[in-house]
């Protein structure tokens, strides 16, 4: 049993950490958010250049054999800078689905371009009625002489507005809630029959609602009708990524709040000298430590189980969601008015910690899933 990092892992962590420190300060991030695309192509090129986009892929697929530990290291640092570039959408989910379900031709076609930073991806899975139920798919794909045409609506798809290629979960058979009958399709996002309404989410991440109307697919990805387990595994991996991000974000939130409490004066004393505030800062600290621990648990269990352990993952999402909730709320409350402003980072951390609680399944949903497994 050993929780220390290997030298390779230490290198990854240092490299991302340096990037956040040097190239992703709060003002830079604000400018990125206000730019036309809402993310920085320059940063994306850098991610590719530094090999981070290769981390989620095995060496066999041309990647760096990235484990969950690697993913955790990257995302925890990303969380500290609140990185909005679509790493999860493109590299973890988009590329991950092709690596998991694609045939050799598809892999050869897409993966090198993803790892080179030349291709933006999005995974179109959620629908207005599905909430967090991955088996609830109304979007349909009908086959005519080997070609598939897709119709339906997808909700709040991360990077959906910037993706070149969409991977769409659509039903090829069965009823709306059946586990069987869901298939994955590669779709050219620029087709006129793909209608996209893009927007930024409250946390600054780009997303879109997408409508398909008899949209021809580029091809089937993986086995027809058997996509659900693949989808679950990749959503779990993306969930792990946001869990790690939340742990990084909480660390910054706590550090900022602690720093503020040590300097801000009220009634002639620093507010950190008031015992009630001290105890709440300790409570935030404990929440962050517990979140960090359960993240480690999930990472190690997933890594020792071929990248998948739904029970461990759901435990982590549940516990980290609770911690994110408390740490986020307390960060604002202890900062007072200044924490409510758009001008400083804590409000933005709070917003990201809020969306993470609901992204890929709420805290309660994951608690329930943990208990059921």
């Amino acid at each position: 049993m050993d929780f220390s990092l290997s030298s390779e892992q230490q290198m990854i962590q240092d490299s991302v950490s340096r990037f956040i420190l040097n190239d992703y300060d709060f003002d830079t991030r604000r400018k990125i958010l206000k730019s036309e695309t809402g993310y920085s192509q320059k940063n994306w090129d850098k991610f590719a250049e530094l090999g981070w986009l290769m981390l989620p892929f095995t060496e066999e697929d041309g990647g760096l054999g990235g484990s969950m530990v690697d993913l955790m290291l990257v995302m925890e640092e990303f969380g500290k800078g609140m990185v909005v570039e679509p790493f999860i959408a493109t590299a973890v989910m988009g590329g991950g689905l092709i690596a998991a379900a694609g045939n050799q031709e598809q892999k050869d076609d897409y993966l090198p371009r993803i790892m080179a930073g030349e291709l933006q991806m999005a995974f179109a899975y959620a629908e207005p009625q599905s909430r967090y139920h991955l088996n609830n798919v109304a979007t349909s794909a009908t086959e005519t002489s080997g070609e598939y045409a897709i119709s339906g609506q997808k909700s709040v798809i991360l990077n959906g507005n910037h993706a070149d290629i969409l991977i769409v979960a659509a039903r090829t058979s069965g009823d709306q809630n059946d586990n069987d009958g869901i298939s994955l399709f590669l779709v050219d996002a620029t087709l006129p029959s793909v209608k996209r309404t893009g927007y930024a989410n409250v946390d600054g991440h780009q997303a879109a609602d997408i409508w398909f109307e008899n949209t021809p697919a580029l091809g089937l990805l993986g086995e027809k009708g058997k996509a659900l387990p693949v989808i679950e595994t990749i959503i779990d991996k993306a969930t792990l990524a946001v869990c790690a991000e939340a742990v990084g974000a909480m660390q910054v939130a706590h550090a900022r709040t602690l720093e503020y409490a040590k300097t801000r004066k009220q009634f002639g004393r620093t507010i950190g000298s008031f015992q009630a505030i001290q105890h709440r800062l300790v409570n935030m600290f404990m929440e962050h430590q517990q979140a960090k621990s359960i993240l480690l648990m999930a990472v190690l269990k997933m890594d020792s189980n071929n990248g998948s352990d739904a029970k461990a993952l759901s435990a982590a999402k549940s516990r980290i969601g609770k911690a994110a909730n408390l740490v986020g709320r307390e960060t604002i409350q202890i900062h007072g008015g200044i924490g409510m402003t758009d001008e400083i980072d804590v409000g933005h951390i709070f917003k990201r910690l809020t969306t993470i609680q609901f992204l890929f399944g709420s805290t309660d949903m994951h608690t329930k899933r943990f208990a059921s497994l």
Binding site: V156, V202, D203, I332, M340, F358, D364
Partner: protein, 399 residues
């Protein structure tokens, strides 16, 4: 003990309902129910409708335009307004500066200011907080130095809610020497916001809205006749007002209405093959908040009952603000949860009247996160919950 309304009270309830049905503009009611920000014009429109009815200032003394309602009538009015989707009146004129003027102002000031406040002809804002003087107001630094018949005001006020619309601001300013005891150095001054030496800079909050502002005073000359009461008593006046106004501080009526809507939203929110409200965990959380709100309502009613039977409000009244904000924020969280993925998109333009594009989620869903973020302020402003807790600890528990 008796929970029932009298015949007079039931009649009054009917009258309020009828008024709201006839006079409350439908578009304002819808925006209010969806938790959207209203424009200045919309606020003024509604407040002038209330004024036309004689109901714009229920708490004022009758001689200045008050209604002489009993606490029970005020309770009925607040409940009916919330149910109908009537927006809150902007408090700075009608609920904050007016009581100070009619209590501590001179006759000339009353004549000059109260009628326009009552009729919502003039928009007021509040100049209390400063950077470095938030919960601890005694540390404020804006100065007003007497020069002949004028005060010369320098400094910066912050968190000035809706100050961008204001015609007038009421300020706590430092008139004494910096060495004077805090309580004796602070005065209450009314300042015309149209003075060119005043600049207003918006502060964008985490919901993306410029709801609050910084107000900079750069050598603004204010006639001494705008001083309320006695120089050096400003802090006393402000404090008396704070402890005076209890009705409605818990926001019970609003929270009740929002819970009704939340349940509608959750009843309509699909959750895979089911409805979200059928989820036992979610339903239990809603019930917990609903029950706590029910308790809070009776805490408020206990206070009202004490007042209406001529007793002093008991210690229970001290918890109204704290528990009220806890309930508001708990409801906000449940809304976000009910909206699920559709709590995430930041699409403020879709709430504009002239927006014609594709709506993302329902308006109620799309507004949940913004409202959640905005309402974090509820436990911070007007004396943070920590300050409220300290007050109860000292004043009620004697610690």
């Amino acid at each position: 003990m008796n929970l029932n309304f009298s015949t007079e009270e039931t009649d009054f309830q009917q009258e309020v309902r009828q008024f709201l049905q006839d006079k409350l503009p439908k578009d304002i009611a819808k925006k209010t129910k969806d938790g959207l920000h209203l424009s200045k014009d919309e606020y003024v429109q509604w407040q002038q409708i209330l004024h036309a009815q004689g109901w714009s200032a229920p708490n004022w003394p009758v001689e200045h335009g008050g209604t002489a309602w009993t606490p029970t009538q005020k309770y009925i009015f607040a409940n009916e307004c919330a149910k109908a989707g009537a927006p809150d009146v902007i408090p700075f004129g009608l609920k904050m500066v007016a009581p100070i003027i009619y209590t501590f102002g001179n006759e000339e000031q009353k004549q000059r200011f109260l009628p326009d406040i009552l009729a919502s002809n003039v928009w007021w804002c509040q100049g209390y907080s400063e950077t470095g003087a938030g919960s601890d107001l005694a540390g404020l630094k804006t100065t007003a130095v007497r020069d002949g018949d004028e005060y010369v005001v320098n400094g910066t006020k912050t968190w000035t809610t809706l100050g961008q619309y204001a015609d007038w601001i009421f300020c706590l300013v430092r008139t004494g020497a910096p060495s004077a005891k805090n309580q004796e150095a602070i005065s209450f001054l009314l300042i015309n916001m149209h003075d060119p030496k005043i600049t207003v800079s918006p502060i964008v909050l985490i919901d993306g809205k410029p709801e609050v502002n910084e107000v900079h005073f750069d050598g603004v000359r204010v006639p001494a006749e705008n001083l309320i009461g006695v120089e050096g008593q400003g802090w006393t006046y402000a404090k008396i007002l704070l402890s005076h106004e209890r009705t409605g501080i818990a926001r019970v009526a609003l929270s009740k209405e929002r819970l009704v809507q939340l349940k509608e939203l959750a009843q309509g929110s699909p959750d895979g093959a089911n409805k979200l409200l059928d989820d036992p965990i979610f339903a239990q959380k809603v019930a917990d908040v609903e029950i706590n709100l029910l308790a809070l309502e009776y805490t408020e009613l206990r206070t009202l009952s004490a007042i209406s039977t001529g007793q002093a409000p008991g210690p229970e009244s001290s918890i109204l603000k704290i528990v009220g904000t806890q309930v508001i924020q708990a409801i906000d969280e449940l809304y976000v949860e009910a909206a699920g993925y559709y709590s995430m998109p930041f699409v403020p333009h879709q709430f504009e009247d002239d927006f014609e594009g594709q709506h993302i989620g329902s308006d109620m869903e799309a507004n949940t996160a913004l409202r959640y973020f905005n309402n974090r302020k509820a436990s911070i402003y007007g004396g943070s919950n920590e300050i409220q807790t300290n007050i109860i600890s000292k004043a009620v528990l004697g610690l």
